[in-house]
Symmetry: none
Subunit: 415 residues, 2 copies
């Protein structure tokens, strides 16, 4: 079964937005055992959308198009589909009823623009959307099944599952690819460790990619599981999870399993570690809270970091990171605590402490008395980069500590 | 001048890699004043590449293709271009000399695989690549100029500048597009407010898109500035900035200009507001810090929220949001404070307080005495969605308060 995809939107053809739907749909189609024919991107131009729909339908059995279904006048995908089919648009009464019910639940009535969203080509049908006002559309064009879905990912993804994936006869007999995720290793070391496993003619095939310093080895083909275990073994202790698992999920799961809690005391990360930890549903089970002490005054006032220490060693110092972690654990009554203090840039660097210098502190009180220590990192990259890698390094440090694994992480200064 | 782009590679059609070249090239082409016709993505299949080259050449004046020029056997773009042209491949002597010199500099000799990279169609030419072993290719197909560049971004980007951008007669005399950003309005209302400004045949052209509930109206064409001001006027007070400006930058800039400071007390957002505020370089000028009080115990211990209040009204209540904001302002000695308490889901909802219910509190002490209030929201979407919109709504609430503008935001419950 040949599948093609079409992304529609001015924001894509002007480069304002990176098209992530293409990769998401390609991944899902591959998992469903569909053969990928072609992907196209066009702007919100009725003629160009119509042409792309016709051409792709002619060479595909299934065409999934996304975008251009919103209420505004530049959303013309409905009209283009009608043009491609040579049909008129009519109001879909069932979709209108759903739209009105959705508005009524909030005590409102849909306006003229929103009512445009329930138009469909005469011979097509509307696909219900549980997460937004725009229904999808389905029609048959030139023997090709055409499915049009709204652009917002939290609407498009579940609609693809319901209206496309679940309707296919073949769910794909290929083994589901497995991805092993790791953090704290350089890409070249990660490649060296995999050695012949990652050869281009190996079976199953192991592909490594790196995104925001998260290493991901994806294993495709047949006989996946034994190779996945070998990758985990070779990347030990840096490999932390599989597929969509995140560091914060894994660390949260470990804390939950131990019935342990964690607190945070953040300076340069400004709350990002707390934000990341609480991304995980159920995190109230292991996270009571934290403090963001961005200024020195706050470090003194909220955590009792001695002003003498701040003056003598500076806020970005081992001692301050240790006191922050220890005080966070104490004040929140937590089993573990993480602290960060560093220079995220672009300003604030010095010769001794250049931009990218960060101390990450850990406190462990599970032995009945608090033990705290800190490690120094020197992260390359800009402000966003430094802060993101600080969060990841802190979570990985805690994970490795809980596993009793002591290894330096990438960018750690081990002098 | 109509331009199309073509991305080539199995990693794109399997979804292993997100295609960032499409957006990068679209941005550069827009800046050069080229009219974008179509983007396509195909796998490393000789037949499909040939077909895409032919079809895109027929509807474009310039076609920029990327990928499939490497030394391995799955790189077949050279062969496909020759097929499309109906020409043979021959060795390009100048390119071979450059390749041999490149290897000689490291004391090596190129192998058979690498020598494949200096093949070109008889009537085409090789484009030097200063950052890699694969030259680009250029040829004329069906009156369309076809340029093929290697896939690695650090090779492709400079080659595009040298071999494409610098060779164009017109460097683009088009005005630079302007984008107006807004938050707090429904997309349909935003469209209604723009009315005829956003007509598909208007000049300049106004296109609206929405990403994570941030509305963006991009104005393209000529006579941009007066229309940009009209968009800002019609979207007042929700429009907060232009182009790359973020809410946290704008709010930070306003605080900085007033010499005012802000503190945060976060529950359901877990530190994300602090993280967002400190994303802005120089934010230590207006942000001292905050607390994350995720559990009730922390709300009592760190902010002195009365346990009686937590029991009687619940943590997700107007009163608790107000006390949190007030106590944050007091304890940090800040001029303003923001607080959040809500049910991000997926669990924890009830009939009275369903998932998505969030109270956002604001405290203002600039009149010499603290004033605090809170507003109730009911956000749709999943956990990530609810938390993200809570952060944006909190920042927009503070911005509107500082501007003395009092309007309800989208998803606010105004009973």
């Amino acid at each position: 079964m040949r599948v093609s995809t079409l992304s529609i939107g001015d924001e894509l053809t002007t480069g304002a937005t990176v098209d992530r739907h293409a990769a998401w749909l390609a991944t899902r189609c591959a998992a469903l055992g569909l053969r990928f024919e072609e992907h196209r991107t066009v702007d919100d131009d009725r003629h160009r959308i119509t042409r792309a729909l016709r051409e792709l339908a002619a060479r595909s059995d299934l065409l999934v198009a996304t975008g251009g279904l919103g209420p505004t006048l530049d959303d013309v995908t409905r009209e283009a589909l009608a043009d491609a089919l040579g049909e008129e648009l009519v109001i879909d009464e069932a979709a209108l009823t759903r739209l009105e019910a959705r508005y009524a639940a909030r005590g409102r009535v849909p306006g003229e623009r929103n009512r445009r969203q329930v138009l469909r080509p005469v011979g097509g049908r509307c696909l219900p959307n549980d997460n937004g006002t725009a229904p999808g559309l389905e029609a048959v064009l030139d023997d090709c099944r055409v499915v049009v879905l709204p652009g917002p990912p939290h609407e498009m993804h579940p609609m693809f599952e319901t209206h496309v994936a679940d309707t296919l006869d073949s769910k794909g007999d290929a083994e589901v690819p497995v991805t092993i995720n790791a953090y704290g290793l350089a890409e070249s070391s990660a490649g060296d460790l995999l050695g012949e496993l990652a050869a281009r003619d190996a079976s199953p095939l192991v592909g490594i990619r790196v995104s925001w310093s998260i290493l991901a080895a994806t294993i495709r083909g047949s006989g996946i599981e034994p190779v996945a275990r070998q990758v985990e073994e070779r990347w030990r202790p840096f490999a932390y999870g599989r597929d969509e698992q995140t560091l914060q999920e894994v660390v949260g799961g470990m804390l939950g399993a131990r019935g342990a809690t964690i607190a945070t005391a953040e300076s340069c990360t400004g709350g990002l570690i707390g934000g990341r930890i609480t991304e995980v549903a159920g995190s109230s089970g292991w996270y009571g809270g934290g403090v963001v002490t961005y200024s020195n005054e706050c470090k003194e006032r909220l955590l009792g970091v001695p002003s003498e220490l701040l003056e003598r060693r500076g806020a970005v110092s081992e001692e301050v990171a240790v006191v922050m972690a220890m005080e966070a654990a104490r004040r929140f009554g937590a089993d573990y605590a993480l602290s960060t203090t560093g220079i995220a840039g672009p300003g604030g660097g010095s010769e001794e402490k250049p931009v990218g210098t960060v101390w990450i502190g850990v406190c462990d009180t599970t032995a009945g008395h608090p033990r705290a220590w800190a490690r120094r990192f020197r992260f390359p990259g800009d402000r966003t980069w430094v802060r993101d890698r600080t969060v990841k390094s802190a979570l990985q440090m805690l994970r490795l500590h809980m596993l009793d694994a002591s290894v330096p992480l990438i960018w750690e200064e081990t002098s």
